[in-house]
Each structure stands twice: as C-alpha cells, then as structure tokens.
Amino acid sequence: MKDSICKKQVRVLDGFLITLIYISTIISVGILIGIIGYVAFRGVSSISWEFLSTVTSEIRGTFGILGNIVNTLYIIVLSLLIATPIGIGAAIYLTEYAKPGKIVRLIEFTTETLAGIPSIIYGLFGMAFFGVSLKLGTSILCGCLTLTIMVLPLIIRTTQESLKTVPLGYRTGALGIGATKWYMIRTIILPSAMPGIVTAIILSVGRIVGESAALLFTAGAGYYLPRHFFNHIFKSGGTLTIQMYLNMERGDFNNAFGIAFVLIIIVFVINIFTKVLTNKMRKG
C-alpha cells in the first residue's frame, strides 16, 4: 500500500513554505532586536548627565538636549490641548449625534484621508498656511497647529472605537431615567470610554515624539531654553528628532545615537502604557 493512512506522505512544498514562514518571522524580529541592540550599544556611551540636563553651548563646546526636551514637551502639550477636545468632539458627533448617511461617510472618508497623508505634506501645508498665510513663521505654535491636524484622525478613530464599546443599555438606561443627551454623554458615556481616550492621547504622544518631517519647516530648529513661558511658542524650537537629524547631517553620530536611544526608550514606555490600558479596556 503506497498511500496508507498510517504512512505519512512527505510533502516537500509544505516543508519549504513553513521554513519560509519561520525565516520571515526571524527576519522581522531580528531586525527589531538588531535596531534596539545597535542603538543601545552606540547610544548609551553618549548619555550623561550633561547630555540630558544642559543646552548646547558653542563657546564651551558642549552638547546637551535639554532645550530640545523642553521644546518636545511644549509641542506635545500644546498640540494635544488643541487636538484632544476637537478629536473627542468629532468622535462624539459621529457616534452619538450624526445619523448614518452621506455626512458621516464624508467625515469618515476625510479622517481616513488625513491618516494617510504623509508627514512631509503636512510640513508643506503647515509652512504655507500657518507659517506664511497666518504669519506665524517658523515657530513652535506653527508646528503645533500642523501636528494638531496630523494627530486628529488618530484621536478621532481611537475614541470612536471606545465609544462604540459602551453598551447601548447604558445609553437607553440613562435617557430612560430622564437624563438629557449632553448629561448622559458627560456623566456616563465619557467616563466609560475614558481608557480609550487615554489610549488615544498616549498614541498621539508617540506619534508627536517620533515626528520629524512635518516639524522641520514649521517648528524650526531652535535649541534654547524658553525665556518667557508663553512667548516661547512664537520662537523656533526643534524637537529631539529634528536635533537628531541636524546632528546626522553634520556627521555627529555619537550624539545622534544618544538622542536615538532616548527616543527608543520613550517609544518603549509609551508602548507599555498602551498595552496596560488596552488590557484594562478589554477587561473593563
């Protein structure tokens, strides 16, 4: 008997394909481990207290990224202050108010489109619209407004997802005992969707921290500490990524790797936060 049920046929193609699958996975994971390992290996040596806590000084010939850290914080906080309310508002409109139809489809299509536009286009638009037409020049505020549009789809979609998971019973229950719509949204829907909203904010922070092309021509490359707390937003301010790009251009790779290491640690922390929150949401 050639084709007995007891005797397993050896399929060469199967083995080949399975090997391909394993090789691909090893490549994907290997690349990640390689990237993190190499950046950590090259970056750790340039990280010192001076690197993290001073501003670059041409006179003393020292290099520090404190100014860039402060600029990054400015941009994160200001962009999110503008983008979060708008994003949540849009998500609420889409899930609670709008009737399914052309308008919803239009908004969802434009949100998808915004998510697909590459950051260099945002950079060009920000420079032409906020920078030239609104006369903000290259300033932190100009960069923030540009990034606001960029993270908007992320916030809208993530918030929308979490609003959709709020059970219908909560809504009908609240309306049934006499709450008005806004009262229901304020006291029941939003608190229930909180983990999702926080996830959206954290994801946006990650996107802003890693952004470079959209900021190069909008926020500029300044690295000084703010002299006035509020006036600083009208000054040029480069984030960590921009400073890293400038260092690379100059051929100063040690400090560039130092910044890369800081960036990867930030991304890592953000990933852990999102993981914890999404787990909470699922159990929730």
Binding site: I21, I121, F129, L152, A260
Partner: protein, 331 residues
C-alpha cells in the same frame, strides 16, 4: 451593570436635590429652557468638531494646488513632468522632475516586492502557526517596530546599510570609469530601508485580516484532508484577500510618503534610478532643498509636493474602494 445602577442612583439624588432648590419643579410637560440651550449648544459644538477633519482635508487640497500649480505654468507641464534635468539654482535653471517621479515609483515598487512577502508570512506566523506564548513575544516586537521614529531608521541605514553597499559598490565598479562612487548612498540602500519601514504596517493589517477569517472555513479545509500548510496558502490567505490588499496599499502609502528615513541614505543626487546610482525621491527632494529655496525653485518644490499629494490621494481612494467592496462581500 452595577456601575450603571450606581451612576443612575447618584443622578437621581442630584436631581432630587435640584428639585428641592427650585420652586417650579421640572414638570414633564414644561421643558427647562436653560437645559435645552446647553443641549443645542453642545450639539453645535460637536458638529463643528466633526467637520474639522473635512475642513482640514479641503484646506490641504486647496493649499497644495494653489502653491503647486504656479510653477507648472511658468515652466510648462510637459517640460516639468518629462524633463530629466533638475538644476534649480543654475544660471539657466531647469526643473525636470521625471527622474524624481520615476525613482519614487520604482523605489516604492521594489520595497513592496521585498517587504510584503516577509510581512505577510510574519503575519501568517502570528495568526496561524505560532503558539500563544510565542505570539505574545513577537506581537509586541512588531508593535514596537511600528513606533520607532523614522529618523532612527535613517541613522541605521546611514551607518549600517550604506557602508555595506559601499563595499559592494567598490568591488563591482572597481574598473568602471563612468560610475561616480557615492559610498553606498544609493537606490538599493533606500529601498532596503523602505522595505523595513513598511514591515510593521503590512504585518499588522494582514494579521487582522487573517484573524478575521472564520474558523469553520479552516476546519472545513482540514476535514477535507488538506494539511495545515495547504490550508494556510490555499484557503486562509485567499479568504483574507481584500484585507491583505488593503495592507499592501497601506504599505505603498507609507513607502511613497516616507522622507526623513531615506533623505540621507539615498545619496540625494537626481539620477536615473539604477541600483547603484545616487537618487532622489519626491519626498527627499523637498526635505533637502526647502530650507534654502526661494522664488521659482520654491514653487517647483511645492509642485513636487503636489505630485506626491496626487499619488497619496489616489492611494486613499483605492483603499476606500477596496474597503467598501470587501464589506459588501462579507455581508
């Protein structure tokens, strides 16, 4: 449910308190005017928020067209799109972007050819082959890969891939007199960096698509005597086809639009996109020249931006079409 009850009881208490304070108790017939004002006000606020995305897309489209079109009229459409000489600062400037467009198209194509099979097979591993414990390790790794800033990919391409390519180049063109050495900053390096960058996008979207394939389809295939591998390649992947195509198109979008990772890796001279030539992409052209460009040069860079924008809009519309078509089939 307990949560709801507690919220409801709290609400009832607060309402009671309100009623005691107000002389005219809210009747079911008389609507309170203050409340309906806030209700309407909030409704308008939310509606406005909803349209911010629409307004942004409209503004971006209008601005890209307004700033990109003037250079086309000044230089001439044919001369710009089909001209091959890019010399914006020469005394007799020339603004041909044919090679730049070609580089972006071919570069994206090859990065997809390299990146998609690896990404798709990794997604297959995650959703079909891996045990839960292994997937628990691989999945976060892929997510982390997606979060790494593009500039970090750039520095690695510059310091790892470029020297490697430089060596290959030096040995290949050792006797060539026409080839200009560029230390490995060439087309292949840029393609490799792009292929790595689209991996997480392709893996995540195709994994979602594969997981959405109903289990009973797999069980039916296995019950008919197909091996697990045959099931994966002949049943599961075809069933997840529309999702996988979306993943590929998303990958194309990411590769076309990537700028900072390849600006220093690709060499940045306008050349025919041959493997060992120093090349310039649509995105890298903008990044490297915008800081000092002025006048017509600046307008021409905006035209490059407009070309890129048209590519991206086309890709977005394709994704939208696929998603709609896929939705109909599933129903």
């Amino acid at each position: 449910m307990e949560k709801l009850i507690s919220i409801a009881s709290k609400m009832a208490i607060s309402r009671n308190r309100n009623c005691q304070n107000i002389e005219n108790v809210d009747s079911i017939n008389g609507k309170s005017k203050g409340k309906s004002f806030i209700e309407n006000f909030m409704k308008y606020i939310f509606t406005i928020c909803g349209f911010v995305a629409v307004a942004s897309v409209a503004a971006i489209t209008i601005y890209m067209i307004i700033s990109g079109v003037p250079a086309i009229f000044k230089v001439g459409l044919g001369e710009m799109l089909f001209g091959t000489v890019w010399a914006p600062t020469a005394s007799n400037p020339s603004f041909g972007i044919a090679y730049i467009i070609l580089t972006s198209i071919i570069g994206t194509l090859f990065s997809i050819i390299i990146g998609v099979p690896i990404g798709l097979l990794t997604a297959v591993f995650l959703s079909e082959v891996a045990s839960k414990n292994v997937a628990k390790f691989v999945k976060p790794a892929v997510e982390l890969l997606a979060g790494i800033p593009s500039i970090v990919y750039g520095i690695l391409g510059l310091l790892i891939i470029n020297p490697l390519m430089g060596k290959i180049e030096a040995s290949l063109f050792a006797n060539s007199t026409t080839h200009i050495m560029n230390g490995g900053a060439n087309f292949i390096s840029a393609i490799l960096v792009l292929a790595i960058m689209i991996l997480p996008t392709v893996i995540n979207s195709s994994e979602t698509a594969l997981r959405a394939v109903p289990t009973h389809i797999r069980q039916a295939s296995l019950a008919l005597g197909a091996t697990p591998t045959q099931t994966i390649f002949k049943v599961t992947i075809p069933a997840a086809k529309s999702g996988i195509i979306t993943a590929i198109v998303l990958g194309i979008g990411r590769a076309v639009g990537e700028a900072m990772a390849i600006v220093l890796v690709s060499g940045n001279a306008v050349n025919i996109p041959l493997p060992f030539n120093s090349v310039r992409f649509l995105t890298t052209g903008i990044v490297s020249e915008m800081s000092y460009a002025s006048g017509l040069h600046r307008e021409a860079l905006f035209t490059i931006g407009l070309v890129l924008f048209i590519f991206i809009m086309a890709i977005n519309i394709i994704i939208n079409k696929i998603l709609k078509g896929g939705g109909k089939v599933e129903r």
